[in-house]
Symmetry: C2
Subunit: 389 residues, 2 copies
């Protein structure tokens, strides 16, 4: 191991205590030596994805959060409401590392050829526990970034890019030819827009704010429907009729949006059919819920015949289903498009300690358009800045 | 055509009028002559299935129904609430024949060998428009009943038997090994119970009345859970853990029952797993809604991870999916088990005119256990009796 690597490093941990208190803190952990097939990555950038927030905060009431400890080693505590505790039963008492993905420099490499080939390279990793100063990973799990690419440009190489590719692959595998996407102005939504534009896939974007509508239109989106507008149902039905979209990916989850989409899909399909069927159209209409911006219950009116489905969609099982060869093909598409189709942008950078400050949490925790942050574990506790790109 | 066949016969029709009134009446229709491959069936028994009621009454308010006309030719009218009109737009002004299935005597047959072979035989048919005195159908669509079988014993040869067989086939095709069924004391539910018992498939029955619970237990059901009981969630979870059931067929549709089933499935699966995953278990949990006893919205709490799905399930598309050879195999299973596994029972018989009387509708329209009726078009208007078997 090179001399410059310290013996210990900081790792962010999230603990659900039995007394219904969430505790997020920085733990000092030993920096391990790589085995033959492993590399040690000095993490330089790890995004805060919506998929990280659940593990990080576990449904705690962050408006009641308190920070104690020092500037270097803050400890955030927040009460967990009764309703949020039940699904957390499995993790009570076990401090969990957080951070699904990130990128950094390989500062030590095992003896195998694959590991040695990565020595000194900047790599992207989706290994979990990336909110750490150092992270030991298998060489095969690394995506080597093109020479000269800063780690921050590769920090979001997995989750969003593979998710949008997974949506398009799911569309093809299940026989659909166009897509609907909600919360469409998100980083992920904009990425999906670029991917669909490049592959000539009609995409119906659903947003709920005028500003997001304008953002997507100015980026060239062909179909943008605002769910807060009074004419939403009619506009969406028109867009669905024109695109023929019968598959939606929904980041919202709760409320009636998924059901509204199915209702409009059925209206669009029925408008092209002359005959009446008491069971509705025979065209299968599907919504996959992949996020939970609204944690409330999903309401289904079932006013769309019998050929419909709703379900959860998650990246990891999807990748397991398609198998390693197909995953490798998708990863190479990501590597080739990191600066274009699959580029991410961040509202600001945070140090590990800075990520525990309530004012920062108030910004990155709300999962609104343009509020995606990246944690930079090499920054000191007082560093961090907004609007970096 | 034999001399005894009249030139005209009665056919029940359901009309949704543009003024939001449902009109159900008996139409005089010409009795057609069979083409080469066709047979003319004198309908002797046609059940009132839940799947018939939607077409028959179209969501009209039957508590405000009025009957005019004569005893031989009654006309039922009832107002249709605003909310119920929208899905009926496609059938306004078109009087529709009703009756998905039934059985009767072949009184005339076309020239083909297949048609001639059925002359004088009692056959079961799923052709629609079975609430008619005579029905012309393709010979290939007929299921010839064993000699001596009364038509009433074969009247329900298609929908319920093929539905329960379809549920079991769906279970196998989608990789499940046990089933959950709601409204389990229905004719269909008891049939599914006999089928599962014969094929050694664990079945978890969900009912909502003590009497139905006892009925199923006395019939030998191993797992019966009462959704109205305070200990429902715990009992259901136990049953799911013991059976390993991860697929449910739900006849209720509205409310929170489907979501409760998914919640208990997740609890049962998680109880066998030691590790915590913030996305819930990786085991896919599925509910298919095939009925709509509760027409209200379906509420999903989404407290069961990401590996779940819910959707509509309908017999006809399922049969199209599995293809003719597989359908033929299932039909032969039905024919062999008509007196045993696939036997139906009825609370009473109704003439065509009798089916339009409010007191009869009040009984067969409520879709409760033990209230299944059969229409016997050969009965005179004043005939009809209850508790026939």
């Amino acid at each position: 191991m090179p001399e410059e690597t310290p013996a210990e490093g900081l790792q962010l941990r999230s603990l659900v205590r039995a007394d219904q208190v969430l505790e997020v803190f920085l733990e000092t952990v030993t920096v391990p030596e790589p085995g033959p097939d492993e590399v040690l990555v000095r993490v330089e950038a790890a995004p805060v994805n919506p998929s990280d927030l659940g593990l990080l905060f576990g449904g705690a009431d962050l408006t009641a959060a308190v920070v104690t400890g020092s500037a270097e080693r803050p400890v955030l505590t927040a009460p967990i409401p009764d309703a949020a505790m039940r699904p957390l039963a499995g993790r009570v008492g076990a401090p969990m590392p957080v951070g699904n993905e990130g990128a950094g420099l390989v500062v030590a490499a095992g003896s195998s050829a694959a590991a040695q080939a990565l020595a000194g390279k900047t790599v992207a990793v989706a290994g979990g526990a990336m909110y750490s100063q150092y992270r030991l990973v298998n060489a095969a799990a690394c995506l080597q970034l093109p020479d000269g690419t800063p780690a921050i440009d590769g920090a979001s190489s997995f989750i969003n890019p593979m998710t949008v590719l997974g949506m398009v692959e799911t569309m093809r595998m299940e026989g659909h030819t166009a897509l609907v996407h909600t919360a469409a102005a998100s980083n992920l939504g904009q990425m999906l827009g670029r991917l669909c534009a490049g592959e000539q896939i009609p995409l119906v974007n659903i947003v709920r704010k005028q500003a997001d509508e304008e953002l997507l239109r100015s980026a060239g989106a062909g179909y943008v429907c605002n769910s807060a507008a009074p004419e939403f149902a009619g506009q969406l039905t028109d867009a669905l009729r024109e695109t023929g979209a019968t598959l939606a990916f929904d980041a919202v989850g709760g409320g009636s949006l998924a059901s509204q989409i199915l209702t409009c899909m059925e209206a669009a399909v029925s408008s092209r059919s002359a005959s009446y069927s008491r069971y509705g159209s025979a065209v299968h209409k599907q919504v996959y819920i992949y996020g939970s911006l609204d944690r409330g219950p999903t309401q289904l009116t079932r006013t769309y015949g019998m050929a419909w489905g709703i379900g959860g969609w998650l990246l990891t099982p999807f990748l397991q289903k398609i198998g390693p060869a197909e995953v490798a093909r998708l990863r190479s598409k990501v590597a080739a498009g990191l600066a274009t189709t699959f580029a991410s942008s961040y509202a600001g950078q945070l140090s590990l300690a800075g990520a525990l400050q309530p004012d920062a949490i108030a910004r990155y925790g709300r999962m609104a358009t343009g509020s995606k942050f990246v944690i930079v574990p090499t920054l000191g506790p007082d560093s961090g800045r907004g609007e970096c790109r």
